[in-house]
């Protein structure tokens, strides 16, 4: 199947395959990124990925990869995703130069939970960069290659804060410790919110190659996990 849990000792990846990481709850995927290269890796090894950590990083070594999804990208699709990455990566590279306090203050400028991707605008609407959630970055990269993995954001399941906290545990901790407000991450009002979750991507990829490319997947609430 195009999506699978990592049970073997070796993980074979194609470039820009989607990898996911479990959170504290088993099978509940809390982080995702794109494989940076094609090749086989020992399952216990760190895997080089491009992910929205934050900030967006190329060549990040991701440990404990627990789930993999592949759309078996064509060469043309890979080229388009590469252009998307080249366009946005530099906008986040500068964040790595910030000191700790400045870095945490800047998180709302690089990361959002809802919507999954957003332009950071000057007063007149001009913009210097985009902010993404980890799943939002992956979703938009594929969308740029004309692979729309999920239905419109408005049609995603509505989630309350408790569920969002499970899906974004570090962000929840940051909110609880007053480093960011939920509004800074796009969660305005009392909810619920149609937040995009990492698990949805692996269900979207767990279909035929044709379906992946022709029919955006409509996720269900339980798709936050991938068994």
């Amino acid at each position: 199947m195009p999506s699978y849990r990592v049970n073997e000792s070796t993980i074979s990846l194609n470039i820009y395959d989607i990898v996911g990481q479990d959170g504290n709850s088993h099978n509940f995927i809390v982080h995702t990124g794109l494989a940076e290269s094609t090749g086989s890796h020992a399952a216990e090894q760190n895997i080089p990925v491009i992910d929205m950590s934050p900030p967006l990083r190329e060549g990040n070594d991701l440990s404990d990869v627990s789930v993999v999804g592949s759309a078996f990208l064509t060469d043309d699709e890979e080229r388009k995703i590469k252009k998307f990455i080249d366009t946005h990566a530099s906008e986040h590279e500068a964040f790595q130069q910030l000191r700790r306090k400045e870095f945490f203050k800047s998180i709302p400028q690089m990361y959002c939970v809802f919507p999954h991707a957003e332009k950071i605008k000057e007063k007149d609407g001009r913009y210097t960069r985009m902010r993404f959630s980890c799943v939002g970055f992956v979703f938009e990269a594929y969308k740029y290659a004309k692979i729309v993995l999920l239905v419109d954001t408005n049609d995603l399941p509505s989630l309350n804060m408790e569920l969002i906290g499970q899906a974004y545990p570090r962000q929840l901790q940051m909110m609880e410790s007053n480093h960011v407000k939920k509004e800074d991450l796009g969660l305005t009002g009392d909810g619920p919110w149609s937040v995009m979750l990492c698990g949805y991507l692996f269900h979207a990829l767990n279909r035929t190659s044709n379906d992946i490319r022709t029919e955006p997947y409509t996720p269900h609430l339980e798709d936050q996990s991938f068994l």
Partner: protein
């Protein structure tokens, strides 16, 4: 003593040793100097300073290591550094934060009680007084900060000076900072002065702008006109000409597959189109004729996106011009 071994992920390991409050090289030099003064007195330190023999703080690259958390709350750390093994005992954790919230959540920190307006003023003051030795992180902060119109007038020449001084740097961090400066400069510059950017793209410069920075320039030109469609055709002919030179260089089939060439070529084409330049058709045809269908599709898709954006703007002339161009160029898109 009871010990509990802590298995850290690579990222956590790196973060534990990446205290972002680490002083800059200038700070470290001042610390070394102060330490020498305290230890040896003024006369000896002055002599050592003249001879260049002040003991300096050294940096080591950590290759591997293990951390043990003691029940006392302190740490024992065994590191393999490039200079050999190093054992640290009773080490204290200074930084409870990971710079990466995906891996470690921060603890509560002191509230930031600075007045934002004062912070903006301080940023400008630092930028104007720093001369050429500007910390790269300052440019990143500048990019993240919003400025009012009077502050922008002060900021723009300072950013331009930084860009022109450091555009040829061989230091990666400086180039990242120049990229931040370019994005901010173009995002806040008056639209009627966009032509000035042609200087950055001139091929006759003593050293060509690195491709990463060419991406930033072309992308930001496109973004500016995406938001503010030109009210007249061909507002910046010289800039369009420079962009077309880039298209010819990078969309060449012999070069297009090289790293980042497709990004800069497509962004340059889209920037020319967004300027409503008479060169737009020629630029778009370069994409159609390069021999790579994915590249032609990519440019066409991006221009569709531009058309969507302009449809929502209050500039029907620009929308109509782009629709006509699209009809002409799409007829020749590679089948």
């Amino acid at each position: 003593m009871a010990k509990k071994e802590v298995k850290l992920s690579y990222d956590e390991f790196q973060e534990l040793f990446r205290d972002s409050e680490t002083p800059s090289s200038t700070d470290i030099w001042e610390i070394d100097l102060a330490a020498a003064l305290k230890k040896d007195g003024f006369a000896s330190t002055y002599k050592a300073l003249k001879k260049g023999t002040i003991p300096r703080t050294g940096m080591m690259t950590v290759e591997d290591g293990v951390v043990e958390r003691l029940t006392s709350g302190l740490y024992e750390i065994a590191l393999q550094t490039e200079d050999g093994p190093l054992l640290l005992t009773d080490a204290r954790q200074l930084n409870h934060h990971s710079a990466d919230p995906q891996f470690t959540a921060p603890s509560v920190s002191e509230p930031d009680d600075k007045d934002p307006a004062q912070t903006v003023g301080e940023l400008l003051e630092q930028l104007s007084s720093a001369g050429e030795s500007l910390p790269c992180s300052l440019l990143c902060q500048i990019e993240l900060t919003r400025f009012d119109s009077s502050q922008k007038k002060v900021l723009l020449p300072l950013l331009w000076k930084y860009i022109t001084l450091h555009r040829n740097s061989n230091v990666r961090d400086e180039l990242v900072a120049v990229g931040a400066a370019i994005r901010k400069y173009i995002a806040i510059m008056p639209m009627d002065r966009m032509g000035e950017l042609a200087v950055l793209l001139e091929s006759g410069h003593k050293s060509q702008l690195p491709i990463e920075l060419e991406i930033e320039v072309a992308k930001m030109i496109y973004r500016n006109y995406e938001v503010h469609p030109p009210t007249v055709e061909n507002p910046q002919p010289e800039l369009a000409q420079q962009l077309l030179e880039m298209v010819k260089a990078y969309a060449n089939p012999r070069n297009l597959l090289r790293d980042k060439h497709a990004a800069v070529a497509s962004l340059a084409i889209e920037a020319i189109v967004s300027m409503r330049s008479p060169l737009a058709e020629q630029a778009w045809q370069a994409a159609n004729e390069c021999g790579y269908r994915w590249f032609a599709e990519l440019v066409s898709d991006d221009i569709d996106e531009l058309l969507d954006q302009w449809n929502n703007s209050n500039n029907p002339n620009a929308t109509s011009w782009l629709r006509d161009l699209r009809n002409e160029c799409c007829e020749t898109t590679i089948a």
